[in-house]
């Protein structure tokens, strides 16, 4: 059997990769993808802890996280489309003004 700590290490690595993506990338779509990586890292630790404690609540919260991720992706991508129409760019530095 795999120790619980190994799952948590994978989860920590994925979360760190996702946060590095949010900080480093200059493309709105890749930034949204990095947020998805972070959400999945957290899901993995929830399921691992749920299995460790023999409790289904870990899996239940994963479904809620997936739902929120779907809602976030829909609204986030709609925002990206609206912003792209104004600036013809996906670089977050292009959207520095508060009003246009």
């Amino acid at each position: 059997m795999i120790p619980l700590g190994h799952y948590l290490i994978v989860s920590a690595l994925l979360f760190a990769i996702g946060s590095a993506g949010v900080f480093l990338r200059k493309n709105l779509i890749t930034i949204l993808l990095s947020v998805e990586i972070m959400l999945n890292a957290v899901n993995l630790s929830f399921v691992a802890f749920g299995r460790y404690n023999g409790d289904v609540n870990g899996q239940i919260i994963t479904f809620f996280v997936m739902t929120v991720a779907a809602a976030e992706a829909a609204v986030g991508l709609a925002l990206v489309i609206a912003l792209f129409r104004h600036r013809e760019s996906l670089n977050p530095d292009a959207f520095a003004s508060l009003k246009w």
């Binding site: 059997m1 795999i2 120790p3 619980l4 700590g5 190994h6 799952y7 948590l8 290490i9 994978v10 920590a12 994925l14 979360f15 760190a16 990769i17 996702g18 946060s19 590095a20 900080f23 480093l24 200059k26 493309n27 779509i29 949204l32 993808l33 990586i37 999945n40 899901n43 993995l44 399921v47 691992a48 749920g50 299995r51 460790y52 404690n53 023999g54 409790d55 289904v56 609540n57 899996q59 239940i60 994963t62 809620f64 997936m66 739902t67 929120v68 779907a70 809602a71 976030e72 992706a73 829909a74 609204v75 991508l77 990206v80 489309i81 609206a82 129409r85 760019s89 996906l90 670089n91």
Partner: protein, 177 residues
Amino acid sequence: MAETLAFYALAGLAVVASALVIGQRNPMYSVMMLIASFAGLAGLYILLDAPFVAMAQVIIYAGAIMVLFLFVVMLLNAPQEDAAEWDRTHPLRRPGIARVGAVLATLLVVQLGWALSAATGLTAPVGSRGGSATVSSVRELGRVLFTDHGFAFEATSILILVAMVGAVVLARREGDS
């Protein structure tokens, strides 16, 4: 033994594919790599006796959400980050304040590693405390979801409705009525 091998293969797939997501200039390849990463995670969920979550991961994440991303990437004909621009503005290749993000990410890794090494009980196998019968049962999952978490479930439906209306309003062209 087979389980250990499967764990390392799937965990490696998930981590390497995720690293490639942010190491890629073409958003199209990033989305494809993220789908590979989600496949690795779905395998890990099966190892954790959570087959229903694994299927939801494949169907909802890899199936629905990633198709939405791919659709937007193609719709916008998303420009690749320009190679010269990438070299000039990439924080890892630029000295000064822009390194802060990389430093923060490294700090996060160190902090998470420290927290994990300080915690006790992490060497116990994941299946040591509960039977797999409870956690892998879809019947039990449904019972808890619709009784203990009934309110959260209903609130989620409102969240999805709001997200749907929000996406339509935001993506609508100005001047349309």
